[in-house]
């Protein structure tokens, strides 16, 4: 790795101040499980001059009950979320999403804030030494379109940029399905609106903006999270799915379903939700919902297999909510 300044912030205000001072030449580091790999491989055209360590800021790793829901500090480790009785009881989808992320060691380092802010895993984007200066880095093309895109989007590229790299988070779809909000040093943003596709960015955060906590509203129904990956541990998802369904009189009163790793950001499966509201939840309903969700899929040359997997994940997540 190259040299860089390492600044231990003792407060959010100090961290923001440092970020303002460096502009885009600084990066926030918490668990570091994503950032350090990027730096070692020098995948980006520029290298951060400074890392602002926010692990030294007290009070950001707390899971607290608030207004009938939960507030989870941005520095809360994924393993703590996976094993938290409060989370497992009220929000099993989030607990399961955290449990299925990476490996035990990484979950003991990685934070929920870092997980939702992580960078994409596209193997063109991540190729060492900025071998592929792609659209996402300010280059002129997406190499995956004519290359090996077996892990890329099945719902098209981002409208503005034409990037087909998927968002890799397991926690993100759970937060979208749970209708969570992200509180930052500047504002509160609905999880669904938190993610976006920009050059060198996966969120709407400004360069000097820091995630402070995740706010979960009171549970709006039963929730479930399913992940399909090649290996049972470590891997990023090929497809994951979170569902929250409120059941009344044996029928679905409301539903929020979100896929991830199938699109450039978490993919809310509105058509699947519409298919099940007002209906009894069973295999047939789940099947219809899954089919509706992938009806708009536009698989690329190597990833058509993700379509039936996404359909199945939706069906099974829906059935798991009963």
């Amino acid at each position: 790795m190259r040299n860089f300044a390492h600044i231990n912030a003792t407060s959010l205000e100090e961290a923001v101040e440092v970020l303002k001072r460096y502009g885009k030449r600084a990066s926030i580091i918490a668990g570091g499980t994503d950032l350090l790999g990027k730096m070692k491989d020098e995948i980006l055209p520029t290298y951060p001059e400074a890392l602002v360590n926010i692990k030294t800021i007290p009070g950001l790793d707390v899971i607290a009950e608030r207004n009938g829901g939960l507030a989870i500090g941005a520095l809360t480790k994924l393993e703590d979320i996976a094993t938290s009785e409060k989370v497992r009881e009220k929000y099993p989808a989030l607990a399961e999403a955290a449990r299925r992320t990476a490996s035990t060691h990484l979950r003991e380092m990685g934070t929920i804030g870092g997980n939702i802010c992580q960078d994409i895993r596209c193997w063109y984007y991540r190729n060492p030494n900025n071998r592929f200066p792609c659209l996402r880095k300010g280059g002129g093309r997406c190499y995956a379109i004519e290359g090996d895109n077996r892990y890329h989007s099945i719902f098209g590229g981002s409208v503005e940029k034409g990037c087909y790299a998927v968002h890799p988070s397991d926690a993100a779809p759970a937060l979208v399905a749970l209708d969570a909000s992200i509180r930052t040093t500047r504002r509160t943003i609905k999880a669904e609106e938190f993610f976006q596709v920009e050059r060198l960015r996966t969120t709407v955060l400004d360069a000097d903006e820091i995630v402070v906590e995740i706010e979960l509203p009171p549970p709006q129904g039963n929730s479930a999270f399913l992940k399909f990956a090649l290996r049972k541990a470590i891997d990023f998802p090929i497809v994951n799915c979170a569902a929250v369904i409120a059941v009344s009189n044996g029928k679905a009163a409301s539903a929020r379903i979100c896929l991830n790793a199938v699109y450039v950001k978490p993919y809310r499966a509105f058509k699947a939700e519409q298919k099940i509201v007002g209906k009894t939840i069973d295999d047939a309903t789940g099947e219809d919902a899954g089919a509706a969700a992938v009806a708009d899929a536009q698989p690329m040359s190597c990833n058509a297999y993700m379509v039936p997997i996404a359909r199945t994940m939706i069906k099974r997540a829906i059935c798991a909510c009963t």
């Binding site: 895993r121 193997w123 190499y143 090649l230 290996r231 297999y305 379509v307 039936p308």
Partner: protein, 664 residues
């Protein structure tokens, strides 16, 4: 019979749409096809197909995979006034001395090599032509700077070092209704091999351990825009993959129990088991049916008789399809090279086994020290193998595979000579010009003495005894002392059992030192296949190996467990992905190049069969590598049995399963 027209490129026909461009299956950027094709034929396959009740055709493909060794390639050289010291991480340590001598004109006695613990290597990179050159680089730099120089690869460098076994195979197989295979023809394209493939690559195991009389193989190398490939050789995956798939397809397509098909076709050199029996008699081996013993042990552990079913016939309560499979093959043998070993009694009575060797974690240290201790009558803990040091002897490396046969014999011979010398000293002492010793057991002849538990004793009266330490101290000379140390050495060249009169069709392969193998192995796998997602779950693996004699049973089991996990990994996940447009590796790291975790492998059960049919010492066979190699294609038959359709495109990913099911 020809699978191809004279002068034309063979067609892989893996996808019908690609018949016009057979190489489309291996790359989108074919650079060129070298002007070399290699064919091998035994018997007449047209005759064999005519005799068959059913002729079946199918295809298989193995994509690039790699060794991904845990400890990365490293070289250290210290050049010091015309002497060179090397710290080598390579299977062929001794050859580095020769190379250094050749490159720099240094006499070999000025080149010293050390071989500390290497970590697992999985063969691969040691066979790349460039792999010794990292020492050349460090030597040049060390000579110029007059400092020791170390070179270490990073993970990505290691991925670019090379891959293994990318090939496309097309099969045509004839069989009778009872499972007797009458002919096998295989047409293969191999990618980027370092040299032309052996003519019979892919057929070798049919020749060595089947009675199939009619065989044909056609191999073509292709150069594509991907990195270099090795292991298209030896006992590696092309041979095992072709062998396993032919047997499983015959069983599945004829609706026969694959264990019965195996037993029906066991043999060697196109002849049946009576030929094997004759070979066993000729070589003084017990007339045991190794394959049957392995199958019986494995069936019991797997619960085969209760679980086996026809292909595509069993859906489980969880909705998944159940699959169960069996494969078999011969055990590892002695095929190449020679091993030399020395035995030295240290002045304190401890024993050093001398012979440079690398330690790749297969527990050969234990096995060889066991042999020495057992032959000498010493306690195991009194024997140490000084394998990293260079005593001037080179043992075959690595170990646990064919090299066990050469090294084991060399070690045993040296130990037996050392014991004779020890008892000679004990009985007669020595007489030198200035000094003499009457011996520790005056009045006894060497054959009246023996050694057990590091104690020398009189056979007729074991109460008359002295420790080896006492006896050795009496005769040993260090500085002012008296006699030179007790030292012996011996060697063994492997492959020395070849019998040209018994090899028939294998005469054509004499250059490769092939010969009939007598020991067998059998492997079983149980899977569940999710037909909605294509996910395969391996729920049980059983490994049975007839190692002839298990010198170190825990080491044998270690190879079985490790081989199984490696095989599941290779068959489900491992693939080096290259960008077709640029030739850049896309997954040169251990996140995107996926190696199975213990969660992905299912429980593994093992059994060891000991028939004494091996060519090694005590009738032992090697086992290193072979479980990993053979079982890599075990998943194909298991998925075939589960779904009733073959998905022999390795690694078998969910996407390929879904495609085979018509869901994409």
């Amino acid at each position: 019979m020809k699978l191809t027209n004279e002068g034309q490129l063979p067609k892989s026909a893996f996808d019908a749409a690609n018949d016009a461009n057979p190489y489309a299956n291996i790359t989108s950027r074919l650079f060129f096809v070298p002007d070399e094709e290699h064919a091998f034929e035994q018997g007449n396959v047209e005759t064999g197909f005519a005799e068959a009740d059913k002729v079946m055709e199918f295809k298989a493909r193995r994509w690039y995979h790699t060794w991904a060794q845990p400890e990365l390639p490293t070289a250290i050289t210290r050049w010091n006034s015309g002497y060179a010291e090397l710290w080598v991480k390579h299977q062929h340590v001794y050859e580095h001395r020769q190379a250094m001598s050749h490159w720099f004109g240094l006499p070999m006695n000025r080149v010293t090599a050390y071989a500390p613990y290497q970590g697992a290597m999985f063969g691969g990179w040691n066979w790349m032509n460039w792999s010794t050159l990292i020492h050349y680089v460090t030597a040049v730099l060390s000579r110029r700077t007059n400092r020791p120089v170390k070179l270490v690869f990073n993970r990505r460098d290691d991925f670019y070092g090379g891959s293994m076994d990318c090939a496309v195979h097309r099969f045509k197989v004839g069989a009778k209704k009872d499972g007797t295979i009458t002919a096998v023809a295989i047409d293969s394209i191999y990618c980027n091999g370092p040299k032309a493939p052996e003519p019979a690559l892919g057929l070798a195991h049919f020749i060595e351990n089947s009675r199939i009389p009619n065989l044909f193989k056609h191999n073509v190398p292709a150069i594509v825009n991907k990195g270099p490939v090795t292991a298209v050789r030896c006992e590696q995956l092309a041979n095992t993959l072709c062998f396993n798939l032919v047997f499983s397809h015959v069983a599945c397509e004829l609706g026969l129990d694959p264990t019965e098909v195996a037993l029906k076709n066991d043999g060697a050199d196109g002849r049946d088991t009576t030929h094997l029996a004759e070979l066993k008699r000729r070589y003084g081996k017990p007339n045991r049916d190794s394959l049957r013993e392995c199958i019986e042990a494995g069936k019991k552990l797997m619960g085969w008789d209760e679980k086996y079913h026809a292909a595509g016939a069993k859906r489980l309560p969880n909705g998944k399809m159940h699959g169960i499979a069996f494969i078999w093959d011969h055990e590892w043998n002695s095929r190449r090279g020679a091993g030399t070993a020395g035995i030295l009694f240290e002045p304190d009575g401890s024993v050093s086994l001398l012979g440079q060797h690398i330690d790749i974690g297969v527990s050969s240290q234990t096995a060889y020290c066991q042999i020495v201790a057992d032959e000498l009558g010493m306690k195991y803990e009194d024997v140490v193998w000084r394998q990293p040091n260079e005593p001037g002897f080179a043992m075959m490396t690595p170990d646990g595979s064919c090299n066990l046969c050469a090294n084991g014999h060399a070690v045993r011979r040296a130990a037996r000579k050392a014991k004779r010398d020890l008892l000679e000293f004990a009985a007669h002492g020595y007489v030198e010009e200035l000094h003499s010793s009457p011996g520790a057991f005056p009045g006894y002849e060497p054959d009246q003495l023996d050694v057990r538990g590091s104690m020398i004793f009189v056979k007729a009266d074991p109460s008359i005894r002295k420790s080896v330490r006492e006896v050795v101290q009496e005769v040993q000379c260090v500085q002012y002392w008296r006699h030179p140390q007790i030292f012996t050495h011996s060697w063994k060249q492997s492959g020395g059992w070849s019998d040209p009169s018994g090899t028939g069709g294998m005469d054509a392969l004499a250059a490769y030192s092939r010969r009939p193998q007598l020991g067998r192995q059998a492997h079983f796998m149980e899977v569940e296949v999710d037909t909605e997602t294509g996910e395969i779950e391996v729920t049980k693996v059983v490994n049975v190996n007839d190692v002839g004699k298990a010198i170190n049973p825990e080491g044998v089991e270690g190879q079985q467990y490790g081989g199984s996990i490696m095989a599941v990994s290779r068959s489900r996940f491992e693939e080096v992905v290259w960008d077709m447009n640029t030739g850049v590796i896309l997954n040169g790291n251990l996140i995107d190049y996926k190696i199975a975790t213990i969660l992905d492998c299912g429980p593994i059960d093992t059994a060891i069969v000991e028939t004494g049919l091996g060519y090694g010492p005590y009738g032992a066979n090697g086992i290193g590598e072979d479980v990993g190699d053979h079982c890599t294609s075990l998943l194909g038959p298991a998925v075939f049995n589960a779904l009733g359709i073959p998905v022999d495109d390795f690694p078998i990913t969910p996407g390929k399963v879904l495609k085979a099911l018509g869901k994409t």
